[in-house]
Amino acid sequence: MPGNVLARRSPAAAWLAENGAVAALVVLVVALSLLSSDFLSLTNLLNVGVQAAVTAILAFGSTFVIVTGGIDLSVGSVAALSAITLAWTATDAGVAWPVAVVVSLAVGVMAGLVNASLIAYGKLPPFIATLAMLGIARGLALVISQGSPIAMPEAVSALGGNLGRYLPIPVIVMVVMGVIAAVILNRTYTGRAMYAIGGNEEAARLSGIKVDRQLLITYGLSGAFAAVAGIVLASRLASAQPQAAAGYELDAIAAVVIGGASLSGGKGKALGTFVGALILAVLRNGLNLLSVSAFWQQVVIGAVIALAVLVDTLRRRGTY
C-alpha cells in the first residue's frame, strides 16, 4: 500500500517534511546565534517578531489568494490606504476611533472586492487587476492625505506598543491573524473551496462551487488582512504614511512561496507562510546585527533566500 511509506516515518519527520521551511529557519537561527552574540536574546527575538508582524499579516492574506492560483500585488498599497483612511477619518473628519477602524477595514475589504470583481466578472488576470489596484489604492492614499503623514489616534497607536512589560501587541495581532488564517484555510467551506479552485477551477465549478463568489470572499479577506497590517504598521509609527508598505507585496508573496505554496495554486499553509515571514525578518535583523554593509545586504538577502528554499527543495527530493 502506498500509505505505508508515510506511516512508517516518525510524526516529527513527517511534520518537518510537510513544513519544510522550518528546517531553513532553524538553520538560519543557529547560524546567526553563532555569528552574533546579540541575536539570541529575548528582546531581540521579540524585536524580530514585531518586525515580522506586518509582512506576516499581509502574507496571511496573500496565502488565500495564492492558494486559489491568483496573486495580489495590491496588498501594500491597500494597507497604506486603509491606515490613511483610519487616521483621516479619526483626525480630519473627527469620527470616533472605533468607527474609524471599522471604516478602515471596510476600505480594505472593498479594495479586495473590486479586485475580485475585475477577476471573476471582468476576466482580468489577477496580476493585472491587482496591479491596477496597487496604483489606485496608493494614489487614493496620496490624495486623501495630500501627500503628508497623518497622526494616528492615540487609542489605536497603542496597538504598536506592548502588553504588560514585554509582550509586543503587533506580535499578538500577528499570531491571532495567523490562527484565523489557518482556521479559514483548513476548516471552512471557503478555505477548502480555495484549494479546489486553485487545484482545478473547472472541477471546482462542476462540483457546484460558486467560483465567482468564493473569489470575492478570497480577495475580500486579503483586503481585510491588508487593512489590519496597515493599521499595525501605522500604529508602530504612530502616524499613517501615504508611502507606507510600498513594495511589501513582493515580501508577502515571497513569504508565502518560501512557506511552500505554489503560485500555480492549490497549495499553501498558514504555518508555512508564518515561517516564511519569520525567515525574512530574521534575515534582515541578523544582517543588521552583523553590520553587513548596506550594499552587500541586498546580495546576502538574495543569496540566503535562495539558499533557504534550496535547502527545502533538496531535502524534499531526498525524501521522495
Partner: protein
Amino acid sequence: MSEPILRAEGLRKGFPGVQALDGVDLSLCPGEVHVLLGENGAGKSTLIKMLSGAYRPDEGRVLMDGRQVDIRTAGDAQRLGISTIYQEFNLVPELSVAENLSLGRPPRRFGLIDKGAMVRQARELLARVEVDVDPRTPVARLGIARMQMVEIAKALALNARVLIMDEPTAVLTTSEVDKLFVLVRQLRDEGVAVAFITHHLEEIAAIGDRVTVLRDGRSVAEVPADTAQDELVRLMVGRPIDQQFPRRPAELGEPLLKVTGLSRRGAFDDVSFEVRAGEVVGISGLVGAGRTEVARAVFGADRYDSGEVTVRGRRLPPHDVHAAMEAGLGLVPEDRKGQGLVLTADIGENLGLVTLRDATRAGFVDRKGQRTAATKVADQLAIRMTGLNQEVRTLSGGNQQKVVIGKWLVADAHVLILDEPTRGIDVGAKVEIYQLVNELTDSGRAVLMISSDLPEILGMSDRILVMARGRLVGELAAGEATQDDVMALAVTEVEGSRAR
C-alpha cells in the same frame, strides 16, 4: 414504459467553426440505462454537459418530470438530482480523496468542516465501489484507473435520480467494469435514470436498455440495446466495418527492445522481456499492476533501481528520454491531458512536437514541413477538427487521443510503446489505428501495447505478457489465449513479492 424523469428537446449548441449539436431530443426514464453512441466528435459529451450545467444550450429546452427547468450551473443540476461523471477527470489533484468526494458539500459542524465525518463518509463510498485506498491520500498519487473509481464514487455520493456517465469504462479493466455494472444495475433497479456513454460495443448489451445513436450532432436512431453490433456500427459510422481486430502477423526479426531485470522498489520487480522486429507484444494486467510504471521507466521518463534496457543492441542510460528517443523508442502515454498534450497549443503544434528536433535546421524550425506532415497524419487518423490551428483543448476526447497517437506516427519510431492507445476512440478509428500498427510491423518495427481492453489485447498482440503486482507472471501466445486465461494470470498472488 413510465414517464421520463428528464427530457431534452431540440438541443442545439455551436462552437466557433462547428455546430456540435444540431437539434437533439433525449429522454431518460427511471429504471432504465440509456446508452449514447456515436463517433468521436459526434456530440455526446456536449449533449450531456448541457444537462449537467457545464454548458448552456443555444436553443432547446430541458424538462424534469414534465416541467421545464433552467440549468445554469453545476449546482442547479445537483439540486435537481442530476449527477455527472465527466469524460475528462474533474478531481482536484492536490486534495485528498475524501475532500474530492465531498467537494462542494463538505460535512460541517458548528460552521466548520468536520474532517472526521468527511473521512468516514469517504470510507463508506469507497467501500461501495470496492476501491481500496486511504481516503486521506492526495488524488495526485492515484493511478488513472483509481481516479476514475473515485470519480464514480463521487457521483454516487449525491444519491441522484439521474446519473450521467461519460465513458466511465474507458480507463477501467474488466474486473472494475464488472464491479461498476453491478452498481449501475443496482441503481437502475432502484429507479435511477442512467445515461451511459461508451465506445465498447459489447458493453451495450450487457448494461443498456435503449440506445440513442448520434451522428454529426444529430440523433439518427433510437434502438433497443440488444440490436446487433454490426447494425449499431452501421448506424454510427454510416458504413459497416468488416473486422474489428484486423491483426496481420508479420515476419519476426531481431529483438529490437530488450528489458532485463528491471526493478524499482515499490513499483515493479525483476521485469524482463523482449520485443522483436515485426512483433506486437501486449501487456495485460489489473489496474495498478505496474504496467504504466514499467513503460515509463523503459522510456526513460522515470528512474529505476536496477536492470537494463537495450534498444537495437544499444544499452540506454537510465532516466533519459532524449537518449531513448535517439535510440528509436517512442511512448504514447496513458494520461492524455497530463502527459500527452500541450492543451494551450493547437493541433498542428501538438502533432509536430516529437519531431520538432528533426525539423530543426540551424536552430530554425521548418514549420511548413511540420504542417505538411501534420496534415497527413490528421487525415490518416480522420481527426475531426476545424483545421490544424484549432486548439487541442476544444477537441472531443477521442480526437484528443488521436492527436497523442498521431504525434508519434509522425516520428517514425522503431519501437513504439502504446499505453492504452485506443482509450476513448470510436470503433471506426480503432480499426484505423490497428491498421497502422500492422503497417508498422510490416515495415520491421515493433510495438509494445499496454491495454486494459482484453479483446483488444487478444485480438491485436502476437504475444501477451501478464503483469500482477509489479511482476511479470506469465506469457501467452495470442492465438490460443482466452480472456479467462489472461484474467486467471492477472489475479495471481505473487509469492513473496516485495514490489507492493
